[in-house]
Structures are given as structure tokens and as C-alpha cells.
Amino acid sequence: MATLSVVIFVSALALIAVEWVHRTKVALAGAALMVLTGAVDQEHAIESIDWATLGLLAGMMVIVGLTEPTGVFTFLALRVAQLSKGNPIALVFLLALVTGVLSAFLDNLTAILLVVPITLLIADILRISPIPLVLVEILSSNIGGTATLIGDPPNIMIGTARPELSFLDFIVNLAPVAIVTLVVVTGGLALVFRSQLRVDPARAQEIAALDAARDMREADKVGRTMAVLIGTIVAFFLHTLLHLEPAVVALTGATVMLLVAADDVEAALERIEWSTLFFFIGLFVMVGGLEEQGVVDNVAEWLADLTGGSSTAEGLVVLWGSAGGSALVDNIPFTAAMIPVVSSLQGTEFDDGLWWALALGACFGGNATMIAAAANVAATGILDRNGQPVSFARFLAVGVPVTFVSLVIATGYLLLFQL
């Protein structure tokens, strides 16, 4: 039965990676097979679902969904383009900064969906290729999302699975390394792409002449939604003091947002991406099957043997292994499978270093390939629809070096401060 559960899970991962079938269908079919074959019993299957993760995701989807139509994010992206004054290096750094910050405090997929369309417009006005800018944004979104508990799905899953790790812990332990990585990676990309981003000063003047604030409609609504968004982020910082789980903070924020900014509740709730939530449900049940069959413990034992029980070696194997796994499949299912492995690996003694290694590996690994993170798939999809296709190989040529450099920085950081 253990072998069967592994076959189901690995087949699902492979199908998710090749994208022949929608990932949610694959995850739900895998979950159904786990239950129907008896790899996991029905009670354990239900218990395996991490409702806190689903609540956190749903809450943030509502909050962001109601903030986005106010035009605040378009304003932000446009302002940074204006601030760059047509200097390609400045443009790359400012777009990377705004994408990284939005990713950290919204989530990386949302950040990409907000900044990429306006970037296409900016590139159109400047008459430059949007591809280098969008690639920078994809990579920045995955690096920026690493900095917080809510920035990237792997962190959301880790944060809700391990209540010992607070929102502030994520910021203190991951934000510094994410910032350094963002600066180094963006600097490298700016140098690589600078010749493709030369801007005619007259075009830069066209951008400067735009009235960025003109699209911020309904000023009172902008004020209300931003107050709730900022209030929710502050509450995330204070959630340990308030004795509130991150999911409770997100759902409370979503409720307040619905009360103050939703004219039509039905339409507001349509912003919840149900396919994503069901994808998570399928994954949790499949991983529950692996746990029940002892596969997770076996992998943890194998890892412990491989590393000779050294926590430093374990941390580095988790970091690089998670990055490799996330690059090959998708960092969400990979993290779902790795969370119980890391729990089992550390035994009864809680070691946050291993969790930071997992977060850094899964999030940074999301930059390696086009399919490694949902943000990459979404952004390259938008480029494709706009007649600017990016091939798998072209993404790889940028993504792999960036991931390697990121992991080297993460390795240094873990060795110096965590392991």
C-alpha cells in the first residue's frame, strides 16, 4: 500500500509538471484515489486538510480582490516607471522593488497579475520589449514573496503547519536574506538586460507626462480599502501578541473589507480562486496518504541517514533538495510533501533553521523554471497572449542562474546564522 501511495503521488506530481490536465483536477483525482484505495482512511483524509491554510488564502484573496479595482496598484507601478526617468537600470530596480514588496505583503501571484499588465503598457509607451521587465518581475515576485509568512504559498503552508513560527519570525529570519538576494539578482539582471532597455528620452517624457493618480477612483473607497489592507498587515505583525492565528487575521480582514468596501458581496466573493483552494485540498489529502503509509517517516529517516544526523547537512539538503524539487514540479505540492518530512526529521526538538531552509529552497526554487511557481505560469501566459512568447529554454537561461545565485546566498546565510 505504501508503494501505491507513492505511485499515486509521484504520478500526480508528474501530471502537474507537464500540465496536460489542470492541476486541480490532478490533485483531486489523486486524493480520491488515495481514499478509494484505502491508502488513507476517510477520517484521516479530512483531518489532513489544513483548513488554516485555506482560510488564510481565501481571506487574502478577498482583501486583495477588493483593493485592486481602486487603481492603487496601477498608480504604484506607473509612479515607479515615472521615477526611473527612462533610465533602464533604475526602471528594472524600481519595478523589482515594487513587485517584491507587493509580493511580500499580498502574495507573489497577485503581485504579478497586478504589475505585468501595466508593465506591458509601460513597455509599449517606451517602445521596448516587455520580456526583460516581466522576467525581472517574475523573479522579484518569488524572491520578495520569500520574505513573509503570506508572501508565497510555501510560506503560508509552513506558517500554518508550524504555529511556533510567527509572522514576525518569518520577517526577521527571511526578509534580510530576501532583500540581499533581490538586490544582487536585480543588479545582475539589470546589467544583462540593459542593452535591450535603452529608452528614447522623448518616450520617457511621455511616461512622465501621465497623470498616475487619475485612475484612483472613488477616493473614499481607496481610503477605506487601504486602511483595511494596512490594518490587516499590522495585525499579521502583531498576531502572536493578539493570540490570533494568521488565518483568523486574514479572514477578519476579509470580513471588514466586505463590510466597508463591497457593494456586491456575491461579486466580491467571486474573487476567491476556488480552483486553487481545491488544489490545496487535493494535495493535503494525498500527503495525508503518504503520512499514513509511513512514506514520510521513511523519507525523513533516509535523509537523516544521508546527512549522518548533522543538522547543518540536513538544512543544506533540505534547502537545495527543495529548490530542485520545486523547480521540477511546482513549489506548492513539493512543500506540502516536505512539511511532514521536515517535522519528522527534526523529531521532538523544534529547529526553526530547517524550516527556513525549506522556505528558502521552495520559494527560491520557484524561479528556476517556467512551471516552478504559479506566478511564472501566470506572467508568461500574459506575455504569450500579448504576442510576446517566452520559451521554456529562454526562461531556463535566466531562471537557473538566478536560482543558483539565490541558493548560494541562502546557503551562506543559513550557515552563518541558522544551522
Binding site: 485592486e68 479595482p69 487603481g71 496601477t74 506607473l78 497579475l113 505585468v116 499588465p117 501595466i118 506591458l120 503598457l121 509599449d124 509607451i125 517602445r127 518616450r203 511621455e206 501621465l210 497623470d211 498616475a212 487619475r214 485612475d215 477612483r217 500574459i382 497572449r385 500579448n386 504576442g387
Partner: protein, 148 residues
């Protein structure tokens, strides 16, 4: 009970060998929101709507931007863009949509319009395109009937 074949269908078809520019001109003349694209033997290949040509002539990302009021002037590359697509074959834009049968009822057509979001649908019978039925034509025919 009148059937769809009895309604004022518009002869708004275009051969699949025509260009985007031909399609836009035909849409403009025919005053229907969509054209039936047909093969050389008169079979339906798909439809091309006003929205389809809008998406082809203007950047696709506009649909993903919620607001563009800050753009007081046109984007500089619009003419070049239009010039680049005007001679492309309309078959590239043809989409499969719900097809109405000439023997079906107006109520069924109304339900199809509501659920597909299309503004005009092809009415076929025996594999032959009878014409395009628009929402306006469907409702206009109903008012006409009431007045009579």
C-alpha cells in the same frame, strides 16, 4: 409559433480567405455584432465578433488593466499594429460558438444568448448558414409581433 428561420436574419458571412480588414469593413456595413466565417463550400467555420477584432487591433493587455484614464493620448504604436494585422486571414480569428438551428424557438435563442455572452449567433439549417441572428433582431421581432 414562428421559428428562428422566420426571424429577420442578416446575411453577414465572410469567406475564411478574407482578411481582418475585410471583416471589419463587413461588420461595419452589415450592422451586426458578429459575422459567420464560411469555407469555400459554404460550411460554417466559426464566427468573428466585434470584440474579436477589437482584441486583434488593440493590445490584449488592455483587458487586464482595469483603468487607463491616465492615457490622455493614444498609444504611439497603434497604427503600426493595425497595419501589421490588417492583411492577416480572418480564419485566425474564427471561433467556435453555439450554433442555432433554424427550427428552434426564440426562447431557446434567448437562453443561448444569455448563457454564451455572444451578441449574435449563426442560424444554420441542413449544414447551410441561413444568417446571423443578433439580440437586437430577436427582441425587435418580439416587439413587432406584439404590435401586430
Amino acid at each position: 409559433m414562428p421559428r428562428l428561420r422566420d426571424l429577420p436574419l442578416v446575411d453577414a458571412s465572410i469567406p475564411d480567405s478574407a482578411t481582418f480588414a475585410d471583416a471589419v469593413a463587413r461588420l461595419f456595413e452589415a450592422r451586426v455584432p458578429a459575422l459567420a466565417v464560411t469555407s469555400a463550400d459554404g460550411r460554417l467555420v466559426g464566427v468573428v465578433s466585434e470584440l474579436d477584432v477589437l482584441r486583434a487591433v488593440f493590445p490584449r493587455y488592455l483587458a487586464e488593466l482595469r483603468h487607463t484614464a491616465f492615457l490622455e493620448d493614444d498609444l504611439a504604436g497603434l497604427d503600426e499594429r493595425a497595419d501589421a494585422v490588417r492583411d492577416r486571414p480572418v480564419a485566425e480569428l474564427a471561433r467556435s460558438v453555439a450554433v442555432l438551428d433554424g427550427g428552434e424557438s426564440a426562447t431557446h435563442a434567448a437562453e443561448r444568448f444569455l448563457h454564451t455572452g455572444e451578441q449574435a449567433l449563426p442560424v444554420v439549417e441542413g449544414g447551410r448558414v441561413l444568417g446571423m441572428l443578433s439580440i437586437a433582431a430577436l427582441c425587435h421581432a418580439r416587439f413587432d409581433r406584439v404590435e401586430r
